[in-house]
């Protein structure tokens, strides 16, 4: 029950953080600079704060290790997406590149945990 309440709290905090970063991204110019905020660690700030506060620094340390692998996947995803976006519409172009995130993030996690 406690875990489910924490997940609900995580959802509210994560959603709010995403909106806050999106708001800043909307206000800043030029557009390429604003794009930085599209890849902001909004969900991570909220989730890691809750993880460290409730489960201790060791859990936060482990989560951050997983996040390093995920962030490498994100970097590969963004690089590929720039090319897919120029050939397809935004929704399709950004979805088609998703397996790249999975491949790089998965490979990173495997490297960190073996």
């Amino acid at each position: 029950m406690k875990d489910l309440a924490l997940i609900a709290f995580r959802a509210v905090l994560g959603g709010t953080a995403v909106c806050a970063f999106a708001l800043v991204g909307q206000m800043v110019q030029p557009k390429k600079f604003a794009g930085i905020f599209a890849a902001a660690p909004a969900v991570a700030v909220a989730s890691l704060a809750i993880t460290i506060a409730t489960k201790g620094p060791a859990a936060g340390h482990a989560s951050a290790l997983g996040m390093i692998a995920g962030a490498f996947g994100m970097l590969a995803y963004c690089c590929v997406m720039v090319f897919t976006l120029r050939r397809m519409h935004a929704l399709l172009g950004s979805l088609v590149a998703m397996p790249v995130w999975a491949a790089f993030a998965g490979a990173g996690l495997w490297l960190f945990t073996r």
Binding site: K31, I36, G66, G70, W101, A105
Partner: protein
């Protein structure tokens, strides 16, 4: 779609504002529905990360803290409102943001057990902002045809 045309539109999207600035009036352009969509995506990925952490441990759950869940929604909204050029420019900026994200995660990894949550997260957020913005300014100066 013609990749060359999108690339050219991306360049002209930034042509009007070369300096980094803040336009508070831009808030008025966004509708509550846009933020509701972003909130829903952010909340969903937070729940997924939490559930995966419960089932497979924090290391696997941590992967999803850097999942590009918001990208499809954000880019679709930008493409609908402002066109392909600004969406392409936004995606390019995402590359720099994700490099900053690696530094963010690395800072939390190194600092969580030493400095505690508020200090480690604060420092990580500052590192993300400094690295991403610094890279943008550096690339704009070194490679103005692409980043200018």
């Amino acid at each position: 779609m013609n990749p060359r045309k999108v690339k050219a539109a991306s360049r002209s999207a930034d042509a009007s504002s070369r300096k980094v600035s803040i336009d508070l009036g831009a808030i008025r352009e966004s509708k509550p529905r846009d933020f509701a969509i972003r909130f829903a995506f952010g909340a969903t990925i937070s729940v997924i990360a939490g559930l995966v952490s419960l089932a497979y441990g924090p290391r696997v759950g941590g992967l999803f803290l850097a999942f590009p869940a918001i990208m499809p929604a954000a880019l679709t909204l930008i493409e609908k409102k402002k066109g392909e050029g600004p969406a392409d420019a936004d995606a390019q900026g995402g590359i720099l943001g994700s490099i900053g994200m690696i530094i963010f995660a690395g800072t939390v990894f190194a600092g969580a057990q030493i400095a505690g949550a508020p200090v480690a997260l604060g420092l990580a957020l500052v590192s993300w902002a400094v690295v991403s913005s610094g890279l943008y300014l550096l690339l704009r100066r070194a490679w103005p045809r692409v980043w200018g």
